[in-house]
């Protein structure tokens, strides 16, 4: 069968129970209807995952998928996704990762890996082009993610790209990540699913090539795209210099930076923390993912204080917040070290930092005691923060509760702590307080995997007030804004490029790139791609409805609905979710319970 331009052309099916595999052709219909990456994963999990299955049982399915632009020249064409039924939330979860793993998988000849079943003993999956080996990995079990990747490469070759879990994943910590070449499939606990399957690592090495439909046009579109990224003030200016934390002061000034578990107020030293301090005191050198001209990633090294000598790839903005302002902590070295430990154990640094802020608030309110924790944990206590990261990573002591996420921790500790457990559908909130940009409240409430800033990011449109019309503190236009973002972001997460490229590249440019690469007619216009994005989101909504999600789940933590923002431009504001949600269901074509209507499903070709 001839290759489809832009695609490797094959699916690898792995059955860990039977310890066997099969390779099949990538169906053309799947490509045309779902693009790649997230779209592929949505179709596979909707069609094949047994409804209501235990996410940590052998019934769960783990999908790794690349997009057409993954592994090509296209700027930021480095992304791949891991999708599972999340053990943290019990619903859909896709975690998207940059770096080099996705491009290598594509070079090995696979657009998708579908992993089913469960091994009895630890195994590793070694993919060398189309040679696939499922091998014993007892020697790797128990190792942190850095050591596991290093030992695997020593045994099989330095040029393999490795995605693996650490002790957290092995112990089925519900916020466990999968770490891949310095980057993370972070959110939603996919690491615990690998752990349950006893799959320690996937290593890939490939020598294949990707066919290009219109080579000259693809080169031309790439030149233009690289130029746009270079001259854009974000992707060509602030982001390469300050990393993802380039927005730190901007977010703080606008009242969007959550402080001390979204309580607000101040904390010692917090006034001196910004993107300049981070750059001056921690950053050592730049690092870029495959085919990325932005290079927003940084290597950091702690140069003074109690964490001198510690290093990390990061800290990213989200972790700069989660281990910083969220914990009332201004000790920069501890923030870097906490992110390092998250990568070492293989845990999601957003969920971990969010959960530690929750614990600190519980401690200050007397809900969690020193006796229960084994130490004091007030806000700002960076030593306590580091101890809790370790406890989560090792699944020890209170870490056995906290590592299960704030929803379960609040159920365990009780005494009203559910009012300030900052999650949606079980996934911990990231670094934007939606009381200062109401669209983010709707984005969190309706995100397919729970509270997430990467399903719709309305902050720019709201705070910078496009055309002077969109007010961050009003509800007008927010339903349309969130829906459009969600549909386009699903396209981007299916194409295999980084969402950061969209700060410079418009819808038309990405469309021109993928059309020149593939020649596929259904990818020839923005309208067509947005239709596919909408279709993907509706299919995932059907998946979630099948797992029991209703309107009651499309909500926010009580704190955001009832407690007013304390200061700044959003002082006195709570999130008026109900009216935005009703408008959102209308523009989505969903009924009052948030279920896609039959007419809508017929329009989208899903019925």
């Amino acid at each position: 069968m001839a290759k489809i331009p832009g695609y490797a052309g094959f699916i690898l099916h792995v059955d860990l129970t039977e310890q066997k595999y099969e390779i099949t052709d990538l169906p053309v219909a799947l490509v045309k209807e779902y693009i790649g990456g997230k779209g592929f994963a949505a179709k596979v999990l909707y069609d094949e995952l047994p409804a209501g299955c235990d996410p940590l049982s052998l019934d769960n399915i783990l999908v790794v998928a690349c997009g057409p632009l993954t592994g090509t020249l296209a700027p930021t064409g480095c992304r791949s996704v891991i999708a599972v039924k999340s053990p943290l939330t019990g619903i859909w979860n896709d975690a998207n990762c940059g770096g080099t793993f996705g491009p290598e998988l594509k070079a090995a000849g696979f657009d998708i890996i579908i992993i089913k079943g469960q091994s009895e003993t630890p195994v590793k999956l070694i993919i060398t082009d189309h040679q696939v080996d499922i091998l014993e990995a007892t020697e790797l079990w128990g190792l942190d993610t850095f050591s596991a990747a290093e030992q695997l490469k020593k045994a099989h070759g330095e040029d393999y790209k490795v995605a693996c879990i650490g002790p957290a994943g092995e112990n089925k910590v519900l916020m466990a990540s999968v770490q891949a070449e310095g980057r993370s499939f972070g959110r939603g606990g996919s690491g615990a699913v690998l752990g349950a399957k006893k799959l320690k690592a996937i290593a890939v090495k490939g020598t294949g090539s990707i066919e290009i439909f219109d080579y000259e046009e693809f080169l031309k579109e790439n030149r233009e795209a690289y130029n746009e990224i270079a001259i854009n003030p974000d992707t060509g200016g602030a982001r390469p210099k300050f990393g993802t934390s380039s927005i730190y002061s901007f977010i703080k000034e606008t009242g969007l930076l959550p402080i001390k578990n979204f309580q607000g107020g101040s904390y010692p030293g917090g006034e001196f923390i910004d993107e300049h301090k981070l750059r001056e005191e921690l950053f050592e050198e730049d690092r870029a993912c495959f085919a990325c001209p932005i290079a927003c990633s940084k290597y950091s090294k702690v140069k003074s204080g109690p964490y001198t000598g510690k290093f990390v790839e990061g800290p990213e903005f989200e972790d700069f917040w989660s281990f910083g302002a969220q914990c009332g902590n201004s000790e920069l070295g501890s923030i870097a070290y906490a992110e390092y430990l998250s990568d070492y154990y293989g845990i999601d640094a957003i969920s971990a930092g969010n959960a530690i802020g929750f614990v600190m608030e519980c401690f200050e309110k007397g809900i969690i005691t020193e006796e229960e924790l084994g130490f004091r944990a007030p806000f700002g206590d960076h030593e306590a923060m580091i101890k809790i990261v370790r406890l989560i990573g090792e699944n020890q002591g209170a870490g056995q509760i906290i590592g299960r996420g704030v929803r379960r921790a609040a159920e365990y500790y009780g005494r009203g702590s559910g009012d300030f457990a900052m999650h949606v559908k079980g996934l911990e909130l990231p670094a934007y307080d939606p009381r200062a940009a109401l669209g983010m409240g709707l984005a969190y409430a309706t995100s397919d995997r729970g509270a997430c800033h990467l399903r719709a990011w309305t902050v720019g449109a709201e705070v910078l007030s496009h055309a002077g019309r969109i007010d961050p503190l009003e509800t007008e236009f927010k339903a349309e804004l969130v829906k459009t973002d969600q549909d386009w972001f699903s396209v981007v997460n299916s194409l295999g490029v980084c969402l950061f490229s969209t700060f410079a590249l418009g819808h038309n440019q990405l469309t021109d790139l993928v059309h020149a690469l593939t020649g596929i007619k259904s990818f020839s216009s923005v309208k067509n791609l947005l239709f596919i994005g909408e279709k993907i989101n509706n299919l995932i909504r059907l998946f979630n409805v099948r797992e029991g999600v209703t309107r009651a789940d499309d909500t926010l933590p009580p704190r955001l609905l009832k407690e007013a923002h304390q200061a700044g431009p959003a002082k006195g504001i709570t999130v008026p979710l109900k009216e935005m949600l009703e408008q959102y269901y209308l523009v989505r074509g969903w009924d009052e319970e948030g279920t896609p209507t039959e007419a809508n499903l017929i329009r989208l070709g899903l019925k």
């Binding site: 602030a238 210099k241 927005i247 730190y248 901007f250 300049h276 007030s465 002077g468 969402l499 700044g568």
Partner: protein, 86 residues
């Protein structure tokens, strides 16, 4: 005349060579922009609308334009660029 704090965020602080300053200005935004240009030499007015923007006490000047901004003592003006998320 009012005294307001002015912050240049992220990359703009690098471009202008200024992070923070306090200016005395008449109580309108155009006057404040003019004073900022005089104090820093940074051509702010010509950059507004092309990726650069102003926040007054955390609110976009574009949104506030229709309300005829009146500056007060202690107000904070932030000079920002259109940046995406992190």
């Amino acid at each position: 005349m009012v005294k307001v704090e002015v912050c240049f965020l992220a990359q703009i602080a690098e471009e202008s060579g200024v992070r923070k300053l306090v200016i005395s200005t008449a109580n309108t935004l155009p006057e404040a922009v003019s004073e900022i240009e005089k104090a820093t030499g940074f051509p702010l007015a010509s950059k507004l609308g092309s990726g650069y923007a102003i926040l007054v006490n955390g609110r976009s000047y574009q949104l506030l334009q229709s309300e005829e901004i009146v500056l007060h003592d202690g107000d904070k003006i932030a000079i920002i660029q259109a940046l995406g998320g992190g």
